[in-house]
Amino acid sequence: MIVRCAAGACGAEGANDIGGFVSGLVLALAVNGLVWGLIIALIALGLSIIFGLLDIINVAHGDFFMLGTVVALVLATSTGSYWLALLLVPIIGFVVGLVLERVIIRPTIRQASLTIVTTFGLSMMLQEGVRATYGAQPRRMAAPIEGTIPLFGIDYDVYRIFAAAFAALCLIAFFVFLTRTKLGTWIRAVRHDPETATALGVPVARICAITFGLGTAMALLGGAIAAPITTVEFRTGVDILPFCFMAVIIGGLGNLQGTVAAALLLAVMEGLVTSVTDPTIARIVSLGFMSAALLVRPNGLFSGATR
């Protein structure tokens, strides 16, 4: 689970007194939630644009995240540089996305309700493929930035702060891309009204491919960012997927800012709930919240949903 603190992996080391420790721990969990929330927001946005444009419920999206963690670890170990891995992973993700869209998605997209089955098949292939090549053994990665800084009376991992900042930067870059560039505008146009977009000369098929590539890249990038703070194994996608869906649904399909807000809200909430009870209960609470949101306002809790 995301905010499970296994053997000191919380990011909070050492404390001065019990009271300070407890409140510091709670705050650390909240900050952890924020860190993960930002990473998940990045992944969930990828899921959202794929859903928004291609009408696909991509159950392999969590496995894209997992692939990102694995590729990051493998590249970092083989090249010796995590930073190089961080640079390469999203590019690899984009290419993988383009290939998958062409080979698997496009031939099956006519059967709208069956695309979920296709992506489920893809998910199986990704998980088993990674298990077969990388192996079933979970591994951990050394943090590329060592050290801690004092935060709320607790010593907090510097890398996590970097991860949060970097994820936030990527989110900002994404929104800038979407609103300020021609390609981004085309993507928004196709999502909003594919027919008019075609009439205006937008190459819709290519935009769909690029969108899938972009969504995939974002998921892999999220994986690369998260690799040093999570276990790297073939099953991590399974945990992340429901969370991403929750963020997208609660935020509202088509409402990208809402998705980001929902991801942050859910992650922080889960982090805080975990401090009083166990992670499973926290997850149930989040899922219950999501069900309620789906039933009350299927278009999301945040206004501005366009679907």
Binding site: Q111, S113, V117, F245, T280, I281, S291, L294, P298
Partner: protein, 350 residues
């Protein structure tokens, strides 16, 4: 009309072949395969529950493992805590699954197909986590086990599941009975309503069908099928575990249903059969058989979206029925020609 005769013959042949398994299989191979076929029969009911919703009503549920789990635990817990026998446990499992489906379905069925698919997963995840954390009751991942109750006792004759043949025939009896019931329902006026809702839910409303209620009834019946599968599974393994409630199980059931052919009567049986046999064969040589299953899933959606039943139906059409006339009402293939469609929202603004 010969297509109809062929299909009916195939149906009878299938049943006869299944009935002969405990006698024939040990001669050809190891008795281990009897258990595999029993497993196929059990799991095919879960695929059948997906098939009912997808193939006959047009709803893709990705969360039938929930009702499987409720049926499984219903049976297991009733045996462990209330001393229920086989038939009692089976009934309790099925009823419990139907109740859960009644609760979940009342809200799920209102949603359009994307949200419906998502919420079925969400519900199954919630209950999965709940089952995992209620370890004292459910045993969580490790599960709970019990000893085989008697099936039937008359004087000196005592039949119990511990005997492989008895177990197999009991399972075959129950499963065949359920398929027979299923066949009756889909040929009934209720079945007509299901198909109308699937084909065109707006038109269905405009001929006076209460689409919500129709879907709701189907959802509960599908819950019963999945619950039966789960209860039988519990008795088969004398074991129940929360890990079977995970969405991966639901997903596999969808794959089995699609490979077999959504909208056909025996599609789930053959789809499940094919994939489980494949699993057994491949995993003997390569442990990553799921990779092959995943690839096969994608290929089926790409090239044979109507599955085995669709291929069968096409073969029959080619050989016997001329174009333009209706497919004959054959048992193996009742509605295999219908593509699974997304259930669209009834109201579209004028």
């Amino acid at each position: 009309m010969t297509a109809k005769i062929i299909s009916r013959a195939a149906l009878i042949l299938t049943f006869v072949a299944l009935a002969a398994v405990p006698m024939v299989v040990p001669m050809l191979s190891s008795p281990f395969w009897i258990d595999i076929i029993a497993e196929i029969l059990i799991w095919s009911l879960l695929a059948a529950s997906v098939n009912l919703l997808l193939g006959y009503v047009g709803l893709l549920s990705f969360g039938q493992a929930l009702y499987f789990g409720v049926g499984m635990y219903g049976a297991a817990l009733s045996v462990i805590h209330w001393g229920a026998g086989f038939w009692g446990g089976l009934a309790i499992g099925i009823v419990a699954a139907m109740l859960m489906a009644a609760v979940a379905g009342s809200v799920a069925v209102r949603l359009t197909w994307h949200y419906f698919a998502i919420i079925t997963v969400v519900f199954s995840l919630i209950l999965y986590f709940a089952a995992m954390s209620a370890k004292p009751l459910t045993g969580g991942d490790d599960g709970i086990s019990f000893s085989a109750p008697q099936i039937f006792s008359l004087g000196d004759l005592k039949l119990s599941l511990a005997d492989q043949s008895v177990q197999y025939y009991t399972i075959l009896l129950v499963v065949a009975g359920i398929y027979a019931l299923f066949s009756i329902v889909v040929r009934s006026p209720l079945g007509v309503r299901f198909v109308a809702v699937r084909e065109n839910n707006r038109r269905a409303a405009l001929i006076g069908i209460n689409v919500y209620l129709t879907r709701y009834v189907a959802f509960i019946l599908a819950g019963a099928l999945a619950g039966a599968s789960g209860a039988l599974f519990a008795f088969f393994g004398r074991y129940a575990s929360a890990s079977y409630m995970f969405y991966h199980v639901s997903g596999e059931a969808v794959v089995w249903a699609i490979v077999g052919g959504a909208g056909s009567l025996l599609g789930p049986l053959f789809g499940t059969g094919l994939l489980i046999v494949l699993r057994e064969i491949i995993s003997a040589y390569w442990e990553h058989y799921l990779f092959v299953v995943g690839a096969l899933t994608i290929l089926v959606v790409m090239f044979a979206p109507r599955g085995l039943a669709g291929l069968w139906s096409d073969a029959l059409q080619l050989l016997f029925v001329s174009k333009g006339t209706a497919r004959s009402d054959n048992l193996v293939d009742t509605e295999a020609r219908a593509q699974p469609k997304p259930a669209t929202n009834v109201t579209r603004g004028g």
